[in-house]
């Protein structure tokens, strides 16, 4: 039997953008692309909605689950271009190229000690929605016991408008 996402209780939800002129704050160390700032801002809004300002209530066994169909296209393109031209690759691209890195930033800032998971979305969801597979995985992580909560972030780097949604979830 596939897992039942209705077993999940949504504690908080946030989006980026929230309006047409919504700004994306820069994220130190992540300069090549808007992808990691997008993930960080959606997560920040969601956690702030639940806890107020960082670092929140102290260490919690919260898993971080990032899912994206696009991935960080801008950083990947920057690396490929630099490698193909034999130019020196900017050293910061080393960790920016990895979807876990921004999750490490969020985890350290909010003291989230649960599993750190990144997945590629196979079946995309509509903007503002979360792919069903990511909800199933969140439910599995919670039911399996390595986390009490899951911060699920679905982020897409799109041609016209990046968008992300973040949910803080637990079991009912």
């Amino acid at each position: 039997m596939p897992p039942t996402p209705t077993a999940l209780l949504e504690l908080a939800r946030a989006h980026w953008p929230e309006s047409a002129d919504d700004g994306l704050p820069p994220l130190a160390g992540f300069t090549a692309s808007t992808f990691s700032p997008l993930v960080a801002e959606a997560a920040e809004r969601c956690l702030r909605a639940r806890y107020g300002p960082a670092p929140g209530p102290g260490p919690t066994r919260t898993a971080l689950l990032l899912t994206s169909g696009s991935g960080d296209r801008a950083t990947a393109a920057a690396i490929d271009a630099a490698a193909a031209s034999q130019r020196r690759v900017p050293p910061l691209l080393f960790f920016q190229s990895n979807p876990n890195a921004v999750l490490g930033h969020i985890a350290a800032r909010w003291q989230l000690t649960g599993p750190v998971v990144a997945t590629g979305t196979v079946v995309p969801a509509a903007p503002g929605e979360v792919p069903a597979d990511a909800l199933e995985l969140a439910e599995l992580l919670l039911a399996d016991g390595d986390a009490d909560q899951v911060l699920l972030i679905a982020a897409e780097q799109a041609e016209h408008q990046d968008h992300a949604v973040a949910l803080l979830l637990t079991l009912r």
């Binding site: 898993a63 994206s68 991935g71 690396i79 020196r88 890195a101 998971v117 990144a118 039911a143």
Partner: protein
């Protein structure tokens, strides 16, 4: 703390397929890791002029990534279905992949999905894990959880990483590659890692399903743990407490005490900071027994296969348990006082432990631990 899942089925491995720089199949990989024979050579796949380091462990005549992963899946399925066993029906079997996230990921996933559907009737790629060096470890943990909880009776997990110019250049620029061209896990003077090719697949089944089909069990996944350091974007927490929590979760799920573990296949990449943090994690969990617990990292042989590394090292660990020969920690040249462990050095160690751990850590403070039983 963990183990909320009521375990209704025991996850076991019934098939393994491997392509690595050591060759095609588990046997050449097991032989090279047992003997500690490095597979590194000069990089000729792409231009490395101007890079600080110019070595990696590459498959000779590597096929395209999707083809390599499909070959590994085919090999694993074949081993899991010997002629004497009943055929397995994969028309509803989840296929979990672990791949690097880049501009080619979607295309590779589609080609693997199409090949798996056409050749074996596997309906789709269920999910792609892209979380760096714990991607495949997380996939195995999730597959084990699906089986242990009774949600699934059979799950395929496959992973692939073939060294590309872009990833190589990024690692070189980040000064993550070993300046002296060798990976020296836990050793004094270690200076970084080297990348390696791998395509690996495992068939995981409920033990009862393997018994029903009459398929030999290669090993059991007795426990698994996943944790985060909550410390830094790319550095591990120095005291190893995140990895220690993953290990403790795996032991708890397995229902065993630390002193029942007889071998650890370590993550150690040859990185000065990460290897020290991992040694600290082992001391936290195993305490005074750490000095008598055999440990080796086999990355000094097959290199760092990034998203595929945990599955490659699971294969090595299963081969070690089955052969009773613990692999050599290749590349070691001298004691680092911050990494005091019972390393398997110089020659393979003949011993036949019941339980082994295989560990992985990644950027973002991600950690996985898999407890493997012979």
């Amino acid at each position: 703390m963990t183990g909320a899942t009521a375990i209704v089925a025991r996850p076991v491995v019934t098939g393994i397929g491997v392509l690595s720089a050591c060759g095609h199949g588990l046997e050449p990989l097991a032989l090279a890791t047992a003997q500690g024979t490095p597979a590194f050579g000069a990089v000729s796949r792409f231009d490395v002029t101007g890079r600080r380091v110019q070595r990696a462990a590459l498959l000779a005549d590597a096929p395209p990534l999707a083809e390599a992963v499909l070959t590994a899946i085919g090999d694993a399925r074949r081993q899991a279905a010997p002629a004497t066993s009943a055929a397995a029906d994969d028309s509803a079997t989840p296929l979990l992949l672990a791949l690097h996230s880049d501009l080619g990921t979607t295309g590779v996933t589609e080609r693997i999905a199409e090949g798996a559907r056409r050749q074996w009737g596997i309906p789709a790629v269920t999910r792609v894990y892209t979380g760096a060096c714990v991607a495949a470890g997380t996939a195995v943990a999730d597959a084990a959880a699906l089986i242990a909880s009774g949600r699934r009776t059979r799950v395929l997990v496959a992973a692939g990483h073939l060294v590309t110019a872009g990833v190589y250049a990024a690692f070189d620029a980040g000064r993550a590659l070993a300046r002296d061209g060798e990976v020296r896990p836990f050793s004094a003077g270690r200076s970084g890692t080297l990348l390696g090719d791998a395509a690996v697949a495992v068939v995981l089944e409920a033990e009862s399903e393997a018994e029903r089909r009459g398929t030999p069990v290669l090993a059991a996944i007795s426990g698994w743990g996943r944790s985060g350091d909550a410390y830094h974007v790319c550095r591990p927490v120095p005291d190893g407490n995140g990895l220690a929590r993953a290990i403790e979760a795996a032991l708890e799920r397995g229902g065993i005490a630390p002193d029942q573990v007889g071998y650890v296949n370590a993550n150690a990449t040859g990185s000065p900071l990460a290897d020290q943090a991992e040694a600290n994690a082992l001391h936290r969990v195993f305490g005074g027994r750490t000095g008598r617990l055999p440990v080796s990292s086999t990355k000094g042989v097959h290199g760092h296969a990034l998203e595929a590394s945990a599955l490659l090292e699971l294969a090595v660990t299963i081969a070690a348990l089955r052969s009773g020969t613990l692999p050599v920690n290749a590349g070691w040249t001298g004691q680092d006082e911050d990494c005091r462990l019972d390393l398997v050095l110089d020659r393979p160690r003949p011993t036949r432990p019941r339980y082994a751990l295989t560990l992985n850590s990644a950027f973002g403070g991600a950690n996985t631990a898999l407890l493997v039983a012979a």
